[in-house]
């Protein structure tokens, strides 16, 4: 297990280094410059390039960036928030996205699990059909459509909730974005839960348990829930990553100061430091989630770590 763990961690670190290198090179290929102001003369632009060290070769800058990054310094923003340390920019924006995304994940997962089991236990009945319709809607309709509908009806027409996110009333003003984002989560989790639970319910050991007169409640919690959760947790982990890293359109609709808008603004403004640091944060979250899942699989199913370790 130790060898397996070390191997997985090494692969993750190497992936991250490779990602940063590719990002750096891609930034070089982007047209335009961070000082894309027609009112600046060439001389003034040159002064800015020198001030930010952008006149140096890309490999040299990559080396300096890596060294600084190891000290927690991601550089300063060039153009979207001049001279603000990128680390501070991300550290103030990321928690907002994480709070909203985390709440959406929690509510969506609970509702998805509950309705998924409900559908599985009522397979073929009206309840199953209703749950499947809800699931299909949740999966296929983008969250921003729900966001727009909620905003228009709940916020504007009925005046039940504020239209915009407000730092003074964060919970109240997060309800609509959280609901909008959670519907998609609910749809996916519901579908996976239903499929897995249906398979477990059809399995021989559940049939055997029923034949032994074990109660439905015990079958639900003792057999179905435990055995159908592994694939569902895998899906939830990946959903969590996408939600924590912000939802661009939903953040835009409710004016949430999250990380989604920060990335797109930085890309359009050629703010290299912000783009690289943010993409790196996204990569770290994704790679970390994969690592945790790999390690958990290894723990749960020894066949995975044996084939992974001995096979190579």
């Amino acid at each position: 297990m130790v060898k397996y763990t070390i191997k997985k961690i090494l692969i993750s670190v190497l992936s991250l280094i490779l990602i940063i290198f590719i990002l750096f090179m891609l930034m070089e290929l982007m047209p335009g410059s961070p000082f894309n102001d027609e009112k600046l003369s060439e001389e003034q632009k040159q002064v800015l390039y020198e001030a930010y060290g952008l006149d140096k070769p890309v490999i040299y800058r990559f080396g300096v960036y890596m060294i600084n990054m190891l000290h927690g310094d991601f550089g300063d923003s060039y153009s979207i928030s001049v001279n603000t340390p990128v680390a501070s920019l991300i550290s103030t924006r990321l928690p907002v996205s994480m709070q909203v995304g985390g709440a959406a994940m929690l509510i969506g997962s609970i509702a998805g699990l509950a309705l998924g089991f409900l559908a599985a236990f009522n397979r073929g009945k009206a309840m199953d059909v209703i749950c499947m319709i809800i699931s299909i809607l949740g999966v296929s309709v983008p969250s921003y459509i729900f966001a727009i509908l909620l905003n228009y009806y709940v916020g504007f027409r009925w005046k039940a909730l504020p239209l915009l996110y407000d730092f003074r009333i964060p919970v109240r003003t997060s309800i609509m974005p959280v609901i909008a984002l959670s519907i998609g989560v609910m749809g996916v989790v519901m579908k996976f839960t239903r499929d897995e639970a249906t398979m477990v319910l059809k399995s021989d050991y559940v049939l055997f348990a029923r034949s032994q007169g074990i109660s439905e409640k015990e079958i639900l919690f003792g057999y179905v829930l435990r055995n159908s959760m592994i694939p569902v947790i895998t899906v939830m982990a990946m959903l969590l990553v996408s939600l924590l890293t912000g939802s661009l359109v939903t953040e835009r609709i409710f004016s949430i100061p999250g990380i989604g808008a920060l990335l797109t603004t930085a890309i359009t403004a050629n703010d290299y430091n912000v783009v690289i640091a943010l993409s790196f944060v996204y990569a770290v979250i994704y790679v970390a989630a994969r690592l945790v899942l790999d390690l958990v699989y290894g723990l749960i199913d020894p066949r995975i770590r044996v084939s992974g370790g001995a096979g190579k």
Binding site: P31, A51, I80, L164, I175, L262
Partner: protein
């Protein structure tokens, strides 16, 4: 699952969701400090890139800075008035300005504002290490003595032409006379800056509310970079705090126009900027305040790339085939006006209060939409260049695409044999492409930096990089140079007028429309003031009664 378990399941889920929503909707612990009813709630579609006044030169940062800064002079609906300055004197040659400060001026922490703070502010802008874009104001618009050498690191900051003989007196020396110099001292970058405060904050200066010092009617008490909400409270140390009626201001970043409109209609926002598709929703609204003079949009020719454009009749045919009225009525709408010259109406007044534009239709013979006349010029032009057809390439930015489609449609319908190959170039690549001069026509816009015709006319002098059409007229250059040193305001406007005549006569550039701003301001909000181009809102005297 049994029916009993099913029902319990649904009941539990429903109760959990209802409890969550009810608790959150009630917001019992959250509404204590909301005072939106008494505050001015403004919606902006952009975020500031900095709250450091000396580093700010973009319009979004200026918008967010305005409530919390004061400058030596203030632009009140286009009229320059004293703000932190009590008065000024200019030397006879127009090269030295001596400005006296008010006695009772303080920052939002109660420390006094001195002349040294303005010296430090200008030095920060000129400092090569600061990389401030605002250097454009004191280097390109008006050149402060030694600023180029200081900015290139050849002279120390102390050699910059600005000094403070005493706490209340500021002296600024210029390299050459600048008739509109006082208006540059109304720009946000010339706000005072406390050296001790900046040094105390170090690299954190202006990155959060606690690292920002106000000098205006409000101070900032909530700001984080890239936040969607900035909050200001009334500054008790402001010299004219009795005139300030609002207790606070909340600026919300609302990117979507529809969202801004819903917020306005529901009362969540009192003031929003009207742009894009929401203009139609407010077409007949009496609460719209508009100004259409801050920027000009024009098309330029590049005869160096296509010799057919050296023919004046060809150019005249093109300029007379642009239906400006239709563009403004159908596409650009409120906050814009057809432009048949280079200086918009009501943009610049001389010191006697006379508008530079005396006759709006002065250049109708050159510019006004006239299909028959255009066709006449066109046929004459084609004969002169000995051609039957003409293909022209054109580049524009994504925002100008609709306007250009309309113009091309008119041209190709009205001028037989003309075909246009148009390309849309990403905004950040546009000026680099223009520098290459690889296209025949291009679309450009220019936002006024100060309310003087020179801000637009100087784009086309021989040394300007924006003269892609190569006007290169000695007479034009001389007229603009002479106008700078001319002290008689009437004579000065005459000289600028003569230059504009020459520009229109050559028809190398085709004015299309003038653009300012359109705002939707709630009926209960009074005394909103804007700057000369209607883009920056000054909330100093605003009152709200909703």
């Amino acid at each position: 699952m049994s029916r009993y378990v099913s029902k319990r399941y649904i009941a539990l889920l429903t109760v959990a969701l209802i409890v969550f929503c009810a608790t959150a909707c009630s917001g019992a612990n959250e509404s204590a400090d909301i005072d939106a009813e008494k505050e001015l709630n403004i919606g902006f579609a952009n975020l500031p890139i900095t709250m450091d006044a000396q580093m700010a030169f973009d319009s979004a940062s200026t918008d967010y800075l305005r409530p919390m800064i004061s400058t030596l002079f203030k632009d009140v609906n286009g009229e320059i008035k004293e703000d932190l300055a009590a008065g000024y004197e200019a030397s006879e040659d127009g090269l030295i300005y001596t400005i006296k400060l008010r006695d009772d001026i303080k920052y939002s922490d109660g420390t006094p504002i001195t002349a040294e703070d303005f010296v430090y502010a200008l030095q920060r802008i000129a400092d090569p290490l600061s990389g401030s874009s605002a250097i454009f104001v004191f280097h390109d618009i008006c050149e402060v003595k030694n600023i180029q050498a200081v900015n290139e690191g050849q002279l120390p900051l102390s050699e910059l032409g600005v000094s403070a003989p005493d706490d209340r007196t500021l002296v600024i020396e210029l390299e050459r006379p600048c008739p509109y110099f006082i208006s540059t001292l109304a720009t946000s970058c010339s706000a005072p800056c406390s050296r001790s405060f900046v040094e105390k904050c170090g690299s954190l200066y202006a990155t959060k509310a606690e690292y920002i010092l106000g000098s205006g009617p409000f101070y900032i008490d909530r700001y984080e970079p890239f936040d969607t909400q900035v909050h200001y409270s009334k500054n008790p140390y402001y010299y004219d705090s009795e005139a300030v009626k609002l207790s606070g201001i909340s600026i919300r970043y609302v990117q979507s126009g529809q969202q801004a409109m819903m917020c306005y209609e529901s009362g969540a926002l009192d003031v929003i900027n009207l742009s894009g598709s929401i203009q139609e929703l407010a077409e007949d609204d009496e609460n719209v305040t508009e100004n259409a003079s801050g920027s000009i949009f024009y098309m330029g020719t590049v005869p160096a790339h296509n010799s057919a454009l050296k023919n004046k009749n060809i150019r005249r045919a093109l300029i007379k085939s642009i239906n400006r009225e239709s563009i403004v009525r159908n596409i650009t709408k409120r906050g814009t006006a057809p432009l048949e010259r280079f200086i918009p109406e009501n943009f610049s007044l001389d010191t006697n209060g006379n508008d530079y534009v005396k006759e709006p239709g002065e250049y109708s013979d050159v510019c006004a939409y006239d299909k028959e006349k255009a066709l006449e010029y066109w046929q004459q032009g084609l004969d002169e260049i000995n051609a039957k057809t003409l293909e022209l390439s054109l580049i524009c930015r994504p925002n100008d695409e609709t306007v250009i489609e309309m113009i091309i449609n008119e041209w190709e319908n009205n001028l037989p044999g003309l075909s246009i190959d148009a390309k849309v170039i990403p905004a950040k690549q546009y000026w680099d492409d223009l520098d290459k001069k690889e296209n025949d026509l291009y679309v450009a816009g220019w936002g006024a930096d100060y309310s003087d015709p020179n801000t637009f006319l100087s784009l086309f002098i021989s040394t300007s990089k924006y003269d892609y059409a190569d006007l290169k007229s000695e007479k034009y250059d001389k007229l603009l140079d002479d106008a700078v040193i001319e002290t008689d305001p009437t004579r000065r406007f005459e000289m600028l007028h003569e230059a504009e005549d020459l520009l229109m006569e050559e028809s190398l550039y085709f004015p299309i429309y003038a653009k300012g701003n359109a705002w939707l301001i709630s009926g209960g909000v009074k005394d909103v003031v804007f700057d000369f181009n209607g883009s920056t809102l000054d909330p100093t005297w605003v009152s709200k009664n909703r």
